[in-house]
Symmetry: C2
Subunit: 348 residues, 2 copies
DNA sequence: TTTCGGTCGCAACTCGTTTTGCAAAATGCG
DNA sequence: CGCATTTTGCAAAACGAGTTGCGACCGAAA
């Protein structure tokens, strides 16, 4: 059949319906119980019959129907990961880490882009929890915590872990984040040590925990730093620097709340004839792959996103097995200063 | 309970077990049939009772158990997407497109990284098809088509669509790809028109359809182009150029089979004191976001990855509904030449 | 009042697997 | 050889929703 022109059925050599345990049992001349026990090993089965059954299973390529197993066990064996946009490098790394652990611990993973907190989508994904399609959710907040009503309600009754971004309004939900404060503190001191005094901060969304922490840390070194808010995208760094230049704001150090905004800013600075780092030092946060490629290389703070994903998954699945979380289980991961060419001594 | 120290159960105000249709029916004083019909509308229900039931459903936040629905209907409402590595920009974009359409057409999406064709993982994901956890699979090939035995068998009996990479050994499986040949052809002509005569190709994995097509197209303009094979990563472009330099190979044009390798190559060229584009013109393929950021900007061919994802999803789901594919449904999407600063006239 | 067509609700079975109580067979030991 | 164990297998009841045949009830027409 295959290879002929026109319409092509899925099924050719294999039977259209998959085999049921019933049929295997019939073929082996035993009852379903025996087949089931052969597979699960929850009761001893005569080695001879067991072998005969195994052979038939292999021959028929029988696989138990996951729907039926789910119904019976009440467990779906799946967890969910909600990210603002899976196509971002940043969230892709988290996803990779989560997937790694989920796979290792025999859980399936459903990844959901919330399209930057599109409420309709978010509701759908929370529904995955309600319908028991997933047993738990790793939630990566994007902007401010929207849909909070929904989130609060869901977080009360279902296993949720926050990854990357803690939500202050929900202190009882475990979270895995980077040490935003310490990371930014190191950056601040680095630039202060280089003699800079006038700094500008291109911060992220105002409501985010990470933004707040990083800004606070930098202000420790630069109490008067001018703070603008962007949306974490390249363009936003670019545009905000345009604004600064239009107002002839004077500064020698620029903090991007993430690398993309820092790189966008750097691009705009160079377009305006300013040299990096001779005239302005620029730093970012994250250490995305692009940070090493741009010229000059971007001084930044490395976050281990994959590790955040891994730890979140471990936390969630541990909670699943235990039936609850210890309230104190939140973790914050160390960061690392990566020095590159975008920072230098303050100009005279 | 919440907020107290130590152990914290998931369930506080909400009952530990979700409501069943049974319980709703009992509360409303009717039978499950009535509740079911109220929801599905497959039979008329007294408006008064219907309203009472609806109210109870809303109050209890009842949602039908997806496992039970699956078992009964035989449909899981999920499709799978297998990509080599979800943390890559490239595959993230595809995933985004797939997700968009899946969401729109009311399918759930399970994303699986195959870790560059780790056979163990791949087997697991094919098993999702067998266990009916997913109804169909969008498969994005990574290196050569490994696990072909398994893939051939699965593709014969289950709905599969190839995205991004066609598999020549399985011509009957529908695919959605970019027009690799035409895209590369345009690049080749562009550089030939600039007067280049000595070109080097940094190709991808030798077994991939895209690599073959692109190489063939470039050789149309540069029949004697020296062809090396990399692994699509930055480092690989960098290292291969090191090799070229070590052998003092002379060339004025360099084709990267993807942007990352092209950018890696560009980096190495500059480190060797060669100017881009004055001494060597460099082109890539894909138009990743980084291509616009590096200096000089990378001339490349844009692929619409998200669209590839969208079309694949449409194709798969259409096939699911129809119960089979038309053999001729494969699509190839147009590409677009993006001119930036990395190409210029050949040096004298 | 009877009958008819239609509306609506109930009990009972189905999906495929897991798990139980129970009985039959096989084994051990005195 | 008989009794007490262990093995080993079967039938039946779950899990939660969807579906069907059937009968109860309604109002309206004869």
């Amino acid at each position: 059949m295959r290879g002929s022109l026109g319409y092509c059925e899925f099924v050719t050599d294999t039977p259209s319906k998959p085999w049921t345990m019933q049929q295997i049992a019939a073929a082996a001349g035993v009852s379903v119980t025996t087949v089931s026990h052969t597979l699960s090993g929850k009761r001893p089965v005569n080695p001879a019959t067991a072998e005969r059954i195994q052979k038939l299973i292999a021959e028929f390529e029988y696989v138990p129907d996951s729907g039926a197993q789910r119904l019976k066990s009440g467990r779906s064996g799946m967890i969910g990961l909600a990210v603002p946009d899976i196509s971002h490098w940043y969230f892709g790394r988290i996803a990779r880490g989560v997937e790694e652990v989920a796979d290792e611990l025999d859980y399936g993973l459903i990844i959901c882009s919330t399209s930057n907190s599109d409420p309709r989508r978010e509701k759908r994904y929370f529904n995955l929890l309600r319908t028991r399609s997933i047993e738990g959710l790793i939630y990566t907040a994007s902007r401010e915590i929207s849909a909070s009503d929904e989130l609060v309600r869901v977080s009360g009754s279902s296993p949720i872990v926050f990854a990357d971004e803690r939500v202050d309004a929900l202190p009882d939900v475990p979270s895995v984040t980077s040490s935003n404060f310490v990371g930014a503190q190191v950056l601040g001191r680095h630039l202060r040590d280089l003699g800079h005094t006038r700094a500008v901060i291109i911060a992220g969304f105002a409501g985010l925990h990470s933004t707040i922490e990083r800004t606070k840390a930098i202000k420790e070194s630069f109490p008067n730093a001018l703070t603008l808010h962007g949306d974490f995208e390249l363009k936003s760094g670019y545009d905000l620097v345009s604004d600064l230049l239009a107002h002839e704001v004077r500064f020698t150090a620029l903090f991007g709340c993430n690398d993309y905004m820092a790189i966008g800013a750097m691009t705009r600075l160079r377009e305006a004839g300013l040299r990096v780092p001779e005239d302005v030092s620029v730093v970012g946060f994250d250490d995305v792959d692009m940070a090493a490629i741009v010229t000059p290389g971007l001084t930044t703070v490395r976050q281990d996103m994959a590790e955040i994903g891994r730890r979140s998954a471990h936390l969630l699945i541990a909670g699943l097995h235990a039936g609850g979380f210890d309230a104190v289980e939140s973790e914050s991961l160390p960061t690392e200063l990566i020095l590159r060419g975008s920072t230098g001594p303050a100009p005279q």
